[in-house]
């Protein structure tokens, strides 16, 4: 390979077709003297060889002809190499001086005498390594094992995105089970039931987090009391989920106070009874009564035997707490999430529980709009560290991408999806467009602090956990 040109942070190399094939995301090292330039391959194109149009036209015309060649010097084979020479497009990631990767050094290696080689996986691993000690092995890159640090997810906003069936859930499972093994608490909003099998391996044996895997099924082993939910959560549910008018909300707050004062405790039954007998405008009574009965029908509220979420979260060993939303209807999902976020916030503010990770898959389906900013700013500061997983990148507000610390990007082919993601501030848009479009299944581009801002393409390792949430097929196995 030889350096062809450099423009901005893009460097172009000329390569012979015989050279070892490069893969998008591979790193190359251009060494000249004591310094090395580190560049990441983002694409390859045919070189603009002089006279190639004439050559191709000649070849095209020859397809219909019988061709015989007497080529005593074997120039033809060299010519094929020349015609097929490649232009490798790479992005500069920095200059390595005395073993340190630096972005502030302006230096260019010689076009003719520099040595160009594929960077070793050990070097990339070393350069992307952050100071965390808790390693999570997530796959391999350039034939070397890639691990990230659990500390780099701690206190961070993480996004895992890619189109359907590209491996997002595999990676998410690797991350959350590893976090749980290191003693972290991870709450998962599971809308497809994909995380219900984490306690079992694919062979049916108990997984390493079997004793830390808790499934909370709303209406079954997960019921909450109205009092535990509190007035604010209940008014939020009425306002945002049931679209209750402001005058009716005011009446509800008055009734709540009266019930609390007269009965000493708040129950859903008590509230329904109070709404039925207290004087109020009939239209308000009807509006409140119908909504409270709807809440009652969800089965999520149980004032007699409520689940103590605080105790579950405070088990002290960490774990993966899966809120199974897969069997709940749309409105109930929203009620549960509203309750959980409100409850987690208040527990964290009180210092009653340790900070935790919150995995929100396809969060746009159940998260109200006002919560996005809350999650990435206020809640993050009190100790909820979100991991958003989605196959619809535009369902996450643009501001969230800009504030994301870590992005795990799987394949996207849709141009508008790529445009949206390329707004992430931690990487240039060209890298996102060129690499993400061609990523094979179970390969992802990791961007952000977790890789020390050195984007790497990783083949995500196999997950030994029992896979759940796979699409049910009418005609049996897809391979058949």
């Amino acid at each position: 390979m030889k350096i062809l040109s450099k423009s901005g942070d893009t460097i172009e190399l000329l390569a012979s077709p015989d050279e070892e094939p490069l893969i998008r995301g591979d790193y190359i090292l251009i060494t000249d003297g004591g310094k090395s330039l580190l560049a990441q391959v983002i694409d390859a194109e045919y070189a603009d060889v002089p006279g190639i149009l004439e050559d191709v036209l000649r070849e095209l015309a020859s397809e219909q002809l019988s061709m015989r060649n007497f080529d005593p010097y074997g120039v033809g084979s060299i010519l094929l190499d020349v015609k097929d020479s490649r232009r490798i497009i790479a992005k500069l990631r920095g200059v390595i001086v005395d073993g340190m990767l630096r972005n502030d050094v302006i230096w260019l290696p010689s076009r003719f005498s520099s040595r160009i080689e594929r960077a070793s996986p050990e070097l990339i691993s070393e350069l992307m390594r952050t100071c965390g000690r808790r390693r999570i092995i997530i796959g391999e890159c350039m034939s070397g094992v890639v691990s990230v640090s659990a500390e780099d997810l701690d206190g961070r906003l993480t996004i895992i995105t890619g189109k359907k069936e590209t491996g997002k859930s595999y990676l998410t499972k690797i991350l959350i089970t590893s976090l749980a093994e290191y003693g972290a608490t991870v709450v998962v909003f599971d809308i497809n039931g994909e995380y219900l099998g984490l306690s079992e391996t694919i062979n049916g044996a108990a997984s390493r987090i079997a004793d830390k895997h808790i499934i909370l099924s709303p209406g079954e082993n997960f019921r909450v009391s109205v009092e535990d939910a509190g007035l604010k959560t209940m008014t939020d549910i009425l306002q945002h989920i049931f679209a209750t008018p402001a005058t009716t909300i005011r009446e509800f707050i008055r009734i709540w106070s009266l019930v609390e004062k007269n009965e000493g405790e708040i129950t859903l039954r008590g509230l329904i009874s109070a709404v039925g007998r207290m004087p109020m405008h009939e239209s308000v009574r009807e509006a409140l009564m119908s909504r409270l009965l709807s809440l009652s029908e969800t089965g999520f509220f149980d004032d007699e035997n409520p689940t103590e979420i605080k105790e579950i979260l405070n088990s002290g060993r960490g774990g993966v707490i899966v809120i199974d939303l897969s069997r709940s209807i749309h409105q109930t999902k929203k009620i549960i999430v509203e309750y959980m976020l409100s409850k987690l916030s208040s527990l964290l503010r009180e210092g009653a529980i340790e900070p935790l990770f919150l995995v929100a898959e396809e969060a746009h389906l159940y998260l109200r709009e006002t919560y996005w900013d809350d999650l990435v700013t206020r809640m993050r500061h009190i100790g909820i560290f979100p991991i958003f997983v989605t196959n619809q990148p535009d369902s996450i507000p643009e501001t969230v991408y800009r504030q994301a610390d870590n992005i795990f990007l799987f394949n996207f082919t849709n141009e508008s999806d790529l445009n949206y993601i390329s707004k992430a501030s931690r990487i240039d848009s060209e890298t996102v467009r060129r690499i993400a479009r061609m990523l094979p299944p179970r390969h992802c581009l990791i961007i952000g602090r977790i890789v020390n801002d050195l984007p790497v393409v990783v083949r995500v390792k196999e997950v030994e956990l029992k896979t759940m949430g796979e699409t049910r097929l009418l005609f049996g196995s897809r391979r058949a």
């Binding site: 060889v49 002089p50 006279g51 190639i52 004439e54 050559d55 000649r58 015309a61 020859s62 219909q64 002809l65 019988s66 061709m67 015989r68 060649n69 007497f70 080529d71 005593p72 010097y73 074997g74 120039v75 060299i78 010519l79 190499d81 020349v82 015609k83």
Partner: protein, 344 residues
């Protein structure tokens, strides 16, 4: 159309054995040459005296119509060669030459590419290299060949003559199309070799037509117009007597015609050495091969497949480097003098 024997590449290896050996040996002498930029101007040629037009206007001529009805389809074979300067060294120049043979027969269209041959010409080895093309031992004294501006053309022309000789011997009852003329006499067209080609062609039933794209005769097409001659294309005008009178430094073997084979302004000089009536040969040509601007398509194909492209030159320079030759990049004088104004 007769079934004809196709030449094999074993024949070519035998024919060019001596040239290949000499060429390979010469490349071992390359040491520190400047690789040249590809420049198609090198291939241009014009060696005619413009004053001839005035004399031609006084001549009496008549046209011969080409009969298409009843014309026989025949096998057509076209030959062309091309050369290029690959590098220029202290002691000589490295040249690449390539030939092509295009054959249109009942079986379809076949292209044979011969070469490139690469050779390093120095004042010391020039006669032996040129001689090696013509045979081993060379049939004539080549000591008067010089390493001057014509050597590239001479090398290509000698290779072309050898290929022509090879074709007329190997094919039968074919129309052989050549690029250029049947003028003999200059260093690149030895009379004995051109004569030998024509002598070999006749007994095998081959008819030779040599088309010249750059002849000054073409300008006479505007003098001998269709109105003046009262004829419609396709037709030919016999100019043999004129050529014999005018060309003093060369001898034209065969007959010379102006040929307007399709409607339009395109007219070509065609030298013919035929064993059939010439109009019959032209008729068969028109029946067997399409014309493009009045020029046989097969000759265009032969030209296309021997012409060097820029990638060919890059590949040959790369091959030389692999053989150990040291090549330097030379700046273009044109660029140095005229850029940025002249960005040709």
């Amino acid at each position: 159309m007769s079934q004809l024997a196709q030449p094999t590449f074993n024949d070519l290896e035998t024919i060019f054995k001596s040239f290949l050996e000499m060429g390979r040996r010469s490349l071992g002498l390359v040491n520190g040459a400047y690789s040249t930029a590809f420049d198609e101007e090198d291939l241009a040629q014009n060696e005619w005296d413009l004053g001839l037009i005035e004399q031609a206007e006084q001549m009496e001529v008549s046209a011969i119509s080409i009969p298409l009805e009843g014309a026989l389809e025949r096998q057509i074979v076209a030959i062309d060669t091309s050369s290029v300067v690959i590098a220029v060294g202290r002691g000589g120049i490295i040249l690449g030459v390539r030939g092509s043979i295009a054959i249109r027969s009942a079986l379809g269209l076949e292209i044979q590419c011969i070469g490139p041959f690469i050779t390093y010409l120095t004042p010391e080895n020039i006669s032996s290299i040129l001689g090696s093309i013509l045979g081993d031992p060379p049939p004539l004294d080549l000591s008067n060949y010089q390493l001057d501006g014509h050597i590239q053309k001479i090398l290509a022309s000698l290779l072309e003559k050898r290929l022509q000789e090879h074709v007329v011997k190997r094919f039968r009852d074919s129309i052989i199309l050549l690029d250029g003329s049947l003028s003999a006499g200059p260093q690149d067209n030895p009379i004995w070799l051109v004569s030998r080609i024509l002598e070999e062609a006749g007994p095998r039933g081959n008819d030779i037509l040599a088309f010249s794209k750059t002849s000054i005769l073409q300008f006479w097409g505007s003098i001998f117009t269709e109105d003046r001659l009262d004829v419609k294309p396709p037709y030919i005008i016999d100019m043999t007597w004129l050529i014999k009178k005018l060309e003093l430094s060369v001898r034209v073997l065969g007959r010379t015609f102006l040929a307007r084979l399709s409607s339009g302004l395109n007219i070509y000089r065609v030298d013919a050495a035929t064993c059939r009536r010439v109009e019959e040969v032209f008729g068969s040509l028109l029946k067997s091969d399409p014309l493009i601007y009045g020029y046989p398509e097969l000759l265009i194909l032969a030209h296309d497949y021997c012409t060097f492209t820029k990638s060919d030159v890059i590949a040959m320079q790369a091959m030389l480097r692999r053989l150990g030759a040291e090549l330097f990049r030379e700046g273009s004088i044109r660029d140095m003098l005229f850029n940025p104004i002249d960005r040709r």
